[in-house]
Structures are given as C-alpha cells and as structure tokens.
C-alpha cells in the first residue's frame, strides 16, 4: 500500500516522535510519505496542495498524535477536516490512529471514546467501499512506566501488519 503518515506533536523529541519512527520503521513493505503538522505550516488548517496530491497517491493514512480532550489535537483535526472538505478521503482503504492518552481506558469508555469513534466509524464511512479504521491507543501515559511504553512500541509492527492487510 501507499501509506501517508500524518504526525502531530509540538515537541520534536516527544514520545510521539518515537511512535512515528517506530511506525515508519515497521512499514518496510509499503511506500511511505511522512508529514509533520508542526513543521512550517499555517495552523490550524495546515492542509497544502502538496498534501492533496500525497493524499490522492495514498491508499492508507496513519494518524499519530496525543489525544487531548478526548480527541485529535486541533492542528490534526483541522488537517483531516480540510482534506475531507476537498473530498480527498473518498478513495482511501485504511485509516489507523496511533495515539497516547493521559487518562485511563475506563475514563475514555465512560466519556464515550470520541477519537475511537471518529477513526472506527466516522472516517471509514467517508472512504472507499469496504474501508475500515483501526484505533491503537496507549492509555495512562503519565502513570505507566518505561517498560510499558517500550512494550507498546514493540507491539506496533504486528498491529500495523494486521491493520494494513
């Protein structure tokens, strides 16, 4: 597949950047393009003509971001919306979200899992027939230990293989 990785985090050496690097490293069998929304863009709707071309080339989009207030950070939501406004998602076959949460799994279930619903239900219905979304969350980011974070990084290659099958 042709995979567009959209990365959104304001801090260049964040754990999110580790997630991006681990993702790109595990996509060896696929053609990959990476964009960084905090890199020289006009926020919060930093969707460029070049992005439109890259999105047209892609079969799959992987969103890598920290979940803030239950959903995508503003620059990434603005980018996704601008792409949808231009009908740039209708040919896509897969969308994958890899995201960290400060809160626990329980809190996210109780508050309705906004990000999960957008990725699993909202976006796929605007994509190609048979398209689906995969949501890969890490919960309790601030209270877990480094071992758990490493385990999450190591779980990404098989999870992405399944998601992009």
């Amino acid at each position: 597949m042709n995979v567009l990785v959209a990365f959104c985090h304001p801090v260049p050496d964040s754990f999110g950047a580790c997630l991006r690097d681990a993702t790109v490293a595990s996509l060896g069998a696929h053609e990959t393009e990476v964009i960084d929304l905090y890199e020289g863009r006009d926020l919060p709707r930093g969707f460029t003509d070049e992005d439109a071309a890259t999105l047209a080339w892609a079969n799959a989009v992987i969103l890598i971001y920290p979940t803030w207030w239950a959903s995508l950070p503003a620059p990434l939501m603005g980018w996704v919306e601008a792409g949808l406004d231009r009908d740039g998602w209708s040919h896509l076959r897969r969308v994958v979200a890899i995201t960290t949460h400060g809160s626990s799994r329980l809190v996210n279930v109780l508050t309705g899992g906004v990000g999960r619903r957008i990725v699993r239900r909202g976006l796929p219905r605007l994509m190609a027939t048979g398209a689906y979304g995969r949501f890969i969350p890490l919960f309790g980011m601030d209270t877990i230990d480094d071992t758990t974070r490493h385990e999450f990084l190591e779980s990404l290659p098989p999870a992405l293989t399944r998601a992009l099958r």
Binding site: P10, V11, A74, G113, V114, I118, D142, T143
Partner: protein
C-alpha cells in the same frame, strides 16, 4: 452576580454563530454578568505551541497573556456556553485549540501526587453547547464528538451536579427558553 461566559467561534459564512451568541447573552443577562470570548475577532492563536506543551505539567502552563485573561474567566464562570459550527464531528480547530490552551492544569484541573486528575472548576454549575450542522447524519456516524467532548470529558472538571444543555440548529425562541431557565 454570577458570571456566565459565552465562547463563540463565528466561522459559518452566514454568521449564524454571532446571532446565536447574542440570543444566549440576552437570555442569561437577567441573572448574570455575561462575558464573551470571540475566537475570531480576538485573533486567538489556533494551536498549542511547543513552549506551552513543555510547560503543561509545570503548574505554569499559560504563556499567552490573552489566554491568561480567558483562563481567569473560565475559573470564575458559573455557566460556560460554547457556540460554534460542527463541520464534521468536533468543534472547529480554532475552538479545540482554545480549549487545549485554556483548560490546562491549574485552571480546569489539578494533578495530585500520583498524577491523577482532580477537577478544579469549582464555580461551574452549567456547561452548554449551541451548534449548527448541515449534515446531522455525519455527526451520528462519528458519534457526536463535540457533544461528548464538551458535555462528558470537559464536565469531569466541574462539580458533580453540573447541569448540561445541548442545542443543535436552534431558533431564537428555543435559545431563550432553554437558557432563560438555566
């Protein structure tokens, strides 16, 4: 008198959000002092910056003086009303960014010794959303993200008995009725 805060993102071409915000203000004015934050006319920065993120957990998360003024209003408000167009599922990025930068540790919540979130909006008695959408079925597909985000996730930072109100594509009479009773 109690403070009510109306946060408006007037991004529709026809300016409906400004009309809705005006109707909300009029309905709340009898019982409360009403302050307004207009995210467009006040030219609020529309994304969390690197410095803001790095300082987020420090207890000194607010860098922008304009956001400091807004955060003070949020901390004092007994009613907060968000007025915005839902384009797909969420509030527009301008409003989402404002929430991310204003509802920070020390304002909306505090982190205890175990880094657990504890609510801090002690004055808040009601949270409300007034929104417009041209394709309500799209909201349903995405699980009504704006409503869940504002009335569930955000309200976790308010006292337990906080009231909520949600109006989709309301007319003036409906706004007057619902907000007059708040």
């Amino acid at each position: 008198m109690d403070l009510a805060l109306v946060v408006v993102a007037p991004l529709s071409a026809d300016g409906r959000e400004l009309e809705h915000a005006q109707a909300v203000r009029q309905s709340l004015r009898d019982k409360r002092i009403v302050e307004t934050v207009d995210l467009v006319s006040e030219k609020v920065e529309p994304a969390m910056s690197r410095t803001e993120r790095l300082r987020y957990e420090s207890g000194d998360a607010i860098v922008d003086p304009l956001i400091a003024v807004h955060a003070d209003l949020v901390a004092r408000a007994e009613v907060i009303v968000f007025v915005f167009p839902t384009r797909w599922w969420c509030p527009p990025p301008e409003m989402k960014a404002w929430i991310e930068r204003t509802f920070v540790p020390g304002v909306a919540f505090v982190l205890d010794a175990n880094k657990r979130v504890r609510p801090n909006l002690r004055n808040l008695q009601a949270v409300a959303g007034v929104t417009t959408h041209t394709h309500p079925e799209v909201i349903a597909d995405g699980g009504d993200g704006a409503r869940r985000m504002l009335l569930r996730t955000l309200r976790l930072n308010a006292p337990r008995r906080v009231r909520t109100q949600w109006l989709l594509d309301p007319d003036q009479a409906e706004i007057a009725d619902k907000f007059g009773r708040l």
